[in-house]
Amino acid sequence: MLKTLTNSWTTTLAESPQGLWANGWRWFFQNFGVNENAKLTDKLFMEIFWIGVGWFIFLMAIMVYCVVKYRRRPGVPAPYSPSHNTPLELIWTIIPCFFLFYIFLEGFHVYIDKLVAPGDALQMTLTAKKWDWTVTYPNGASSPERTLIGPDSTQFGGENGSPGARPVPIFYMPADVPVHLNMISQDVMHSFWVPDFRVKFDVFPNRYTTYWFQAKGPDAESNTLRDSTGNDIVTAQGEKVRYVDHFIFCAEYCGDQHSEMLGIIRVVPMAYYLAKVEEWNIEGKTPEEIGKLVYQSQGCSACHTLDGSKGAAPTWKDLYGSQQPTNQGSVLADDNYIRESIYTPQAKIVDGYPSNMPIYTTAQIDERRLQGLFAFMRSISKHAPAQATPDATKSEAPATEKK
């Protein structure tokens, strides 16, 4: 009976955003489940919550009643009562067992739903590093888009400012299809948590873990995507592109900027997602453009600035071709040194910086992307030999970064 009661309560809660209890619900979750798994989790949580509230009130009522009723009166002894009652003690041992078993079974049931991805899910790779995330899409592209969270952003943050000062990555995800992330870390342990999906899973440096979700798409009331000048982006069919954002948090402590290891999952219609992913495909791009995409999408920008200001690692402005003081002596920052710093970063550490650089593999940054990085770094260094640029417009793109 209790189960039906809690069920009906939680169902009412889940389905009536404007109901009396909606505000109570918001205290707990801020939003309603954005997919089936999240809804099931919230329902289970609320069931456990009401079971807990019931027991708590029951126990505390007895306690308060006894404290008031049987308070000490001078000279009056406590009346005799038996101090042992086997049937009673058995009952209160067995009844909780049923509650606990029910909670266990429900928890197990939803857990399996959360862990086992549907076979037709879109396969993507997620890499974590101090302190950034990268998603590699099925065509090998990665998202270079970032946004500041805080007062500058239309979607997040507010008067109180934002954690950290650097922009966080935005990962475009298609709406209403299952997405399967194969996750690996490049350094220490991290944990991938999207509170709106009600799932987190740890990311290890030595094994793949998986994460899957299916996010509800934007509806007519969702925000519209805008370009940098503030105008709505319109598809070829003349429709505005709407989106829903979800925060990504790192939930396993990983060092200084743990609390800034954020990201955003941006759920957009499938067509727009496909267009974006194709736009970031490195096929048909110049080396410099490829290098810039790699810089933005592989998380280099988390530590290396382009404008000469000091980050957690040396700035790339005027780096290429310069002499760098390291713990192994002065080194010329040429192709070979940069290559070494990417694949075996602990070999030489530039003076004044911690050895924070994560290890990249040739699978993450292949030869073509590496050459692109060299080209990009040359283009923003005054020490680099001037390159013959066949197309004047192409060389201007990185130049804007100098501002």
């Binding site: 041992t93 109180n160 440096p205 402590y253």
Partner: protein, 567 residues
């Protein structure tokens, strides 16, 4: 001596906690503001649009502890580093140096022999040695703080802990400190087991022992069996860090999940090392202050042993989000199993109140507070034990709130309760009950304000160990920090009440609360060998219905009329 050392570390750990909450009140973060010129006039660009610039604000903590290198003041990283060190300090000190030794070492060493009617623990010199070891371990930890602190969290998860700050020995010092403290635990545990087996007064059988002794006995078993595992684990961690031997770090061929298994194989049973003594204290305070025989003595005693046994089988529930399906399922089921003996105890305590004669003294107030807080702590464990909800709540503020309700609401609150219960016995002085009660209520309000808000933060998605956060969480964090200041105020009131009691308290009678266990037969404070004559046990520890408490007459504590069928 233990008490002084533990209270000092509690003070240190508390300071770190206040530092953590202060940072979260006003985290180091970036805001965008309109730029102004030298005269303070807002700047606008050529189009009349305001010129914006970013500024870093929220440097409260950084101003308290300014960096050596002044350029770092005003950087986000410096604020974060301070925060990370503060919460590591808070966790490591509170767990290893306060909660684990609080009740066993300070109250246990004093009262186990007294309650058994013995002159001292079985091995007094071993006891002294374990105190020296405790102090040595604490000095290691304090050294690592002075050298700049550790930023790994109290769990020292690899590979972060083996790679952070490679040029400094702080982590090794802290880990060695914890390693050394382990020996103190083991020796104390051994000592108690032998004492309970060998030194019971004539006439005291196993089921005539006070329940505090049962709880301490169960605790000691866990300490002796589990602590060596953490000792080995921490040594391996040091080896890996100093000699680059690959055990846990994948870049050296190790496995970080192995570390988690090792770590929680100890650290989960240790949760019960922390809470079982608290159960013991509550099982003493509630019968004495309500003058009622404890309900279901054997159930409570066996529940202690049951908890100790199951505690070895549930460590995997700290890793639901890291390792897969079947193992996690088994651990989830076993986790729910541990809830049953715990629930049984709570029912028994509440049943003891029935038809009692309840005096709201400070220890009793704290015992009732414990029932309130621990029930919340226990019940909020349910969504964490259930696999599906744990995947959402794991490593969030919900967990933080849950274990503070259990560890602080359970152990620290009970430690304070025990301190008030036995203070007259230990120091021979009474304290001011009115102000002690005021302190207790302040702690109660502050505690709930601090930690209840964190349940909401957790379900809403606030992760643990974040030095700053997105805006949505600001209001609740402010409330939580305000609560922590109220909590601090409450403990300061207690500090002053205790100091006042030591300086100007009136002399305590031998048996101020009318207790029946043997410690109340001794003088306050007890003489050098505890008792003038070896006591002979003629009544059970809770036979309030048939026995007049020692040092009192039947006029003060009249006995009830027993029905014919009693006993």
């Amino acid at each position: 001596m233990y008490l002084v050392a533990v209270l000092f570390m509690f003070f240190l750990g508390g300071l770190a906690a206040i530092a953590v909450r202060t940072e979260l009140l006003d985290p180091v973060r970036t805001i965008t503001v309109q730029a102004v010129d030298a005269q303070g006039k807002p700047l606008v660009d050529a189009d009349g649009k305001p010129v914006m610039k970013t500024e870093i604000v929220g440097q409260t903590l950084a101003r308290w502890l300014p960096p050596k290198d002044e350029n770092k003041l005003g950087s986000v990283d410096y604020g974060n580093q301070l925060y990370n060190r503060a919460f590591t300090l808070h966790g490591a000190i509170m767990v290893f140096m306060v909660i684990i030794p609080s009740i066993p070492a300070s109250l246990g060493n004093f009262f186990i022999p007294l309650m058994l009617g013995a002159k001292d623990v079985a091995f007094p010199r071993l006891n002294l040695l374990s105190w020296y070891i405790y102090v040595t371990g604490s000095i290691f930890a304090v050294c690592s703080i002075i050298l700049g602190g550790v930023d790994t969290g109290w769990t020292f998860y690899t590979p972060y802990s083996t790679t952070t700050d490679p040029d400094h020995a702080n982590v090794v010092l802290m880990v060695l400190g914890a390693f050394i403290l382990g020996f103190s635990s083991i020796l104390t545990g051994l000592n108690f087991i032998v004492t309970v087996h060998k030194l019971r007064a004539p006439g005291m059988g196993w089921f005539d022992m006070p329940l505090f002794i049962w709880a301490m006995y169960s605790t000691s078993i866990i300490q002796v069996l589990a602590t060596p595992v953490i000792g080995i684990t921490l040594l391996l961690l040091c080896f890996e860090r100093m000699f680059r031997i690959g055990i846990f770090d994948p870049s050296l061929g190790g496995d970080p999940v192995l570390y988690q298994h090792f770590f929680w194989f100890y650290s989960h049973p240790v949760v019960y090392v922390m809470i079982l003594p608290a159960f013991g204290v509550i099982s003493e305070i509630i019968p004495v202050h309500s003058h009622k025989k404890i309900f279901g003595y054997r159930a409570v005693a066996f529940a202690s042993l049951g908890v100790a046994l199951v505690s070895f089988l549930v460590w995997g529930h700290h890793m639901f989000a890291s390792s897969g399906e079947l193992g996690a399922t088994v651990f989830s089921a076993l986790t729910f199993l541990v809830a049953i003996p715990t629930a049984v105890k709570v029912f028994n305590w509440i049943a003891t109140l029935y038809k009692g004669s309840i005096a709201l003294t400070t220890p009793m107030l704290y015992a009732l507070m414990f029932l309130f807080l621990f029930s919340i702590g226990g019940l909020t464990g349910l969504p964490l034990g259930a696999l599906a909800t744990d995947l959402h709540l794991h490593d969030s503020y919900f967990v933080v709130a849950h274990f503070h309700y259990v560890m602080m609401g359970g152990t620290i609150i009970t430690f304070v309760a025990g301190l008030h219960h036995w203070w007259p016995k230990m120091f021979g002085k009474m304290y001011n009950q009115f102000w002690a009660n005021v302190g207790a209520w302040t702690v109660f309000v502050g505690f709930n304000l601090t930690f209840f808000t964190q349940f909401f933060l957790g379900t809403q998605g606030m992760p643990r160990r974040y030095a700053s956060y997105v805006d949505e969480y600001h209001t609740l964090h402010v409330w939580s920090t305000v609560g922590s200041y109220v909590l601090l105020l409450g403990f300061l009131i207690h500090l002053f009440v205790f100091i006042h009691s030591l300086v100007a308290g009136r002399k305590a009678p031998a048996n101020p609360w009318g207790g029946l266990t043997l410690e109340w037969e001794a003088a306050s404070p007890p003489s050098e060998h505890n008792f003038d004559h070896e006591p002979i046990v003629t009544h059970g520890p809770y036979d309030f219905e048939t026995t007049v408490p020692p040092h009192w007459s039947s006029k003060d504590y009249p006995l009830p009329n027993l029905p014919a069928n009693a006993h």
